[in-house]
Symmetry: C2
């Protein structure tokens, strides 16, 4: 069985890591959002891609959810001392990733090639694919005007009220050959518990209509990033609210209603199960919290059991 996972940042990276513990590199490919990439300090920074890579390589900082463990902070401290922009906190070994990536991009290498090389250097066996080699940039329409995603997310701390999203470049961006193959050869697409608005939507909008996520027996299954009406991390719940939708696992299922065959919700959201079933998808209830590495493997196995039940 071949599974292709779609992942954004922290939550997506955790489930992708869990899936990588139980599936071989032939069985699992991970497609990652690049909509939150940005140019900063002259460097191309790919936060979701790096979070997924660092997590799979056991290099991630488990406390922050971003950046690397055992990190030092001399570069950013000295940039700050020189009066440079320091609101985006980059650690020293993290800087190396961005500097070397930017150098290679300027040399003409694709983000896909670079990511593949970096994964090899970090000992990652599974394929991690950026959704496209062309830039797609998530723009957040807010009551403070349209903001580039990191400007909204990090610099403004998600404080402006969200009114909508625009994915700059999405009309031009093509899914890469590797992404096409990963989708078309997959038996199941797993949408990881990442922010639907700004982590998964950019992937879906970049992949379709060139590609059909569903098709020829391929199923799509999502894991809810909303538990008990709240996001574990990040502004997903806040975004639902500000867009006039009560944040819940049901809201997530509805968000993906046109593509989902199955939906994994948390045990605490049992009360929503019947309503989710009504929008024409199968459900699976489990503990979806991932506080440690064994939680990730447990949830990955749960998702695989659910998939197994759907296929039989």
């Amino acid at each position: 069985m071949k599974i292709t996972a779609l992942a954004g940042g922290v939550g997506g990276a955790k489930l992708a890591h869990g899936l990588a513990q139980v599936l071989s590199p032939e069985e699992l490919t991970i497609i990652v959002n690049t909509g939150d990439d940005f140019e900063h300090l002259g460097l191309t920074i790919c936060p979701d891609l790096d979070t997924v890579c660092y997590t799979l390589a056991n290099l991630a900082n488990p406390e922050t959810g971003w950046g690397r463990k055992d990190e030092t902070w001399n570069v950013i401290a000295n940039i700050e001392k020189l009066g440079g922009p320091s609101w985006f906190r980059l650690g020293d070994s993290d800087f190396a990733t961005h500097i070397e990536r930017t150098r290679r991009l300027k040399e003409g290498q694709t983000l896909t090639q670079i990511t593949q090389d970096f994964c090899k250097a970090w000992g990652i066996k599974h394929s991690i694919l950026p959704m496209s080699d062309s830039p797609v940039r998530t723009m957040v329409n807010t009551d403070a005007g349209e903001l580039a995603f990191q400007e909204y997310f990090v610099h403004r701390r998600c404080e402006p009220r969200v009114k909508g999203f625009r994915f700059e470049g999405v009309e031009i961006a093509e899914p890469t050959v590797g992404v096409k193959e990963a989708v078309e050869s997959a038996d199941v697409i797993v949408i990881c518990p990442s922010n639907p608005w700004v982590s998964i939507d950019p992937i879906i909008k970049t992949l379709t209509p060139a590609l059909s996520l569903k098709g020829r027996g391929r199923m799509v299954v999502a894991v809810s990033p909303i538990i008990g009406g709240k996001a574990i991390k990040g502004p997903a719940a806040k975004m639902f609210s500000e867009l006039g939708i009560e944040p819940s696992a049901l809201a997530v299922a509805k968000h993906y209603r046109n593509i989902l065959d199955g939906f994994v919700l948390d045990d605490v959201d049992s009360n929503l199960e019947d309503e989710i079933k009504k929008i024409n998808m199968k459900t699976w209830k489990t503990n979806t919290l991932m506080n440690n590495v064994s939680d990730r493997t447990r949830l990955a196995n749960d998702v695989l059991h659910f998939i197994g039940s759907l296929l039989t």
Copy 2:
């Protein structure tokens, strides 16, 4: 009395630091070579400028002569792990200088403005001026072909035999307004004990013919970077030899013969004093070795005594 010093890397930085201990910011301005600047890892790196700034700010690494003290090395170690170029060893806090400088250059700030800002942040009171805001790049003609300076100096460890030098961009590069003023208002130009071929010549060739180092009573005095036929650091002596000139304080004095009024040589080179006098310049013998900060101040005071004797 106003003094303007011309300086390259380590030796020049040490004497500039000594002069800064005994002269006020009104009395001393330092013009620094930018011929060894280069673009590396997407960053504009200015080794001589940084060495002078770090030295005056007490941030320099006294052991290496380049880079900063109390430095960490996580960025370059991780770039190396990713297969990136790691032959030019940059420390983490040093990286901050290059990243922030490059960011500002791309924003349109001049190297002069940026250096002024950085000096302020580092608590440096004296003016440190890059010789020009336009790029001048020292190219070394060798038996292995023409090499960019850092390629020759760091990557190839000065191993190729030198046949000559070319200063790319020098015909177009203008001395800045600040440099012009620093030269024209100076009573004395002090050529610090830096490499004549690749540290001082690029400055002189950039400043002239727009500016005359000598003129209207202004004198030029040099301190020999060659002691007992050897350079304290760097390839100056090797360059003289490969160009068919016996390396010595005399060779340095001859190199500058058209502009010098006075020449400071080391006590160990007493035997050369008469010959130096013959090429029409005054001499001053002293201990020119600078092993510690008090040596720098001592030599600076010696140079000032010499200048005093020339002026009376």
